[in-house]
Symmetry: C2
Subunit: 363 residues, 2 copies
């Protein structure tokens, strides 16, 4: 069976080399005589795996020493609760509404306190990132919350909001490791692994030390306290060991290939191939304003539902799969995460050109 080009928004494509390595090590990992899945999380073999993954991620993202790196369960959805549980003091959160995931975060934070929407792009189906240079941030806001890359709508902050001194909490699920970032500008970063890093079931949290609090404003379950996991170095209870192991392999590969500066270059190359075509096509168009476009998730439409359906079906037959857009945007979406090779994007653009030429003749 030939591998397809998988444009899924997540879980998503992983590097074939990582999968092959994992396959080779599945029954016996190195000299352990067992699979990574069978290892005690208290064993020195697994400790080496999680330590190395942590160190590599720290190096890749240039994480300052006063930040802690955690591997947790529950996805970004669980972070929608952990963040307010742990960071609320005045029980006030200021948030920028850019799509479905900030709406879900709003709903969960609102269980515990007051959420103020500082700005929103809902007026135009979240097709842009609002101007965040001078937001009406509250004096007593506990933090400012954003989703930095919006998987569904294909938008991305190209400049972080001016938080006026408040801590920034950011959901980076669909853009983490796609380019270098300045971690010191954030209070908390979190990201479900299943888009740009590894398999579903592990969530990366990077938190500034002073935000890892002992005394919280609520009676918080032990499992939902950052301090629990910081103190236990992500081993309070059994972690998703195998998922962490795969993430570790992805980190190693990114390092070997030149780190995030190089990665950004490749990601820009890939995204520009598609955006350039979209901006020049007479059939397809991007749904996102030029200044707000994501490098990772690229929604596009024809504006003719029947033709879009035909396009998706024919693309699938060519091994270009999972191109259907989210129901709220319609049309198509190509998620081109780190692991999507340049050749995959080239194949997609070639097919789009061919489809456009063929359908024009049919008119």
């Amino acid at each position: 069976m030939k591998r397809v080009y998988n444009f899924s928004a997540g879980p998503a494509v992983l590097p074939e080399a990582v999968l092959s390595e994992a396959a080779n090590e599945m029954v016996c990992y190195k000299d352990s005589g067992m699979s990574v899945m069978e290892m005690s999380h208290r064993s020195s073999s697994f400790q080496a795996i999680i330590d190395e993954a942590t160190a590599d991620l720290k190096e890749l993202l240039n994480v300052p020493d006063n930040y802690k790196i955690l591997f947790l369960q529950g996805g970004a959805s669980m972070q929608f609760n952990m963040v307010p549980f742990n960071l609320m003091k005045n029980k006030k959160v200021d948030l920028i509404q850019t799509g479905q995931w900030t709406k879900k975060a709003t709903k969960e934070a609102a269980i515990l306190g007051d959420v103020k929407i500082l700005a929103s792009s809902e007026d135009k189906t979240f097709s842009y990132i609002p101007d965040c240079s001078d937001l009406p941030i509250r004096e007593d806001a506990d933090y400012v919350y954003i989703c930095e890359n919006n998987t569904i709508y294909g938008t991305k902050y190209h400049e972080l909001p001016n938080t006026k001194g408040k801590d920034l909490v950011a959901d980076l699920s669909s853009c983490i490791l796609s380019e270098p970032i300045d971690v010191s500008r954030y209070g908390v970063i979190f990201a479900g692994a299943q888009k740009n890093v590894g398999p579903a079931g592990v969530t990366i949290v990077i938190i500034r030390e002073d935000l890892v609090r002992e005394d919280l404003a609520f009676d918080v379950p032990t499992m939902l306290r950052y301090k629990t996991h910081v103190d236990a170095k992500s081993l309070f209870n059994t972690p998703p060991c195998y998922a962490i192991y795969i993430c570790g392999k992805v980190f190693k590969k990114l390092k070997a290939e030149g780190g995030l500066a190089k990665r950004k270059e490749i990601n820009e190359q890939k995204a520009n191939m598609l955006y350039d075509y979209l901006d020049n096509s007479e059939m397809f168009r991007s749904t996102v304003e030029p200044g707000s476009r994501s490098l990772m998730n690229i929604p596009f439409v024809i504006g003719d539902e029947a033709l879009e359906k035909k396009f998706i079906a024919e693309a699938t037959a060519r091994g270009l799969v999972n191109l259907k857009g989210h129901r709220t945007v319609g049309g198509m979406r190509a998620s081109i995460y780190n692991a999507m090779p340049v050749e995959g994007v080239a194949a997609l653009v070639d097919f789009m050109k061919e489809f456009e030429a063929k359908e024009k003749k049919n008119v």
Copy 2:
């Protein structure tokens, strides 16, 4: 590299055939052209995987139609919070204290309500299961809570408590699928997969329909409501897809090998080999009272720390690994879950005999 016999308490040994199959399917699953790790959780390919896993588990455990099966994240530790969040009405829990895991469950339930310890075996280092035929259960208790098999202490309920009509909630992490059970006698069953089922990172929950409540006694995060996951059939957010896929393979194998009645027979054969030797040895002895012994976790001691250390080191050199006992019990512990072959237990007993004979000569 030769595979070892892995007596780890969890994560633990998995069937080699399952690992080999997973290795073969890692880069390309069937005709999907991608790894299971790369599949959208909304795809028909993954839907088939989770549907089949659910159906097979239902068949194996003979789960009645009025129970829901969930695959969640967070381990048993997260269930220590989800159970009281969802099941408390009068905010009173009656619990039987049989070790570290019921203590952790007590601590979390006590954040939300009042926990009464109905009985405890702490007086003898949790080496037995208390008599549960006539417990002082409160009239207004919300439920009765037990840990059915205690991984650390090697004890197991051979008869379920008389709950006097109250719902029974049971942590089956280290005994689920080791033998047939009568699900209808429980209100909620939960089990981390990483002992007897699959990889760490997925937790099985089986809950009676009427306990899946909309109106709860607390403001509960969406992710910690059973109703969220029942309504979404475990797909509210991205589930730990790959871990569920491996569990599914284990279920298929158990079915193919004759189901849980056959499994019980084999597990009894394995456990008896070890218990019989322990009860007749002049060097080794079981730490657990005969009527309370686990089929899965078998702690044993020599009573001489230096000799125990020597035993563990020599066993490890023979490929019999992870035999060190938990620090609270000391000595050794052999966890012999479903996937530990009869040959592994035989090899352990043979080595124990050899060690005993050799060390006696040395005296």
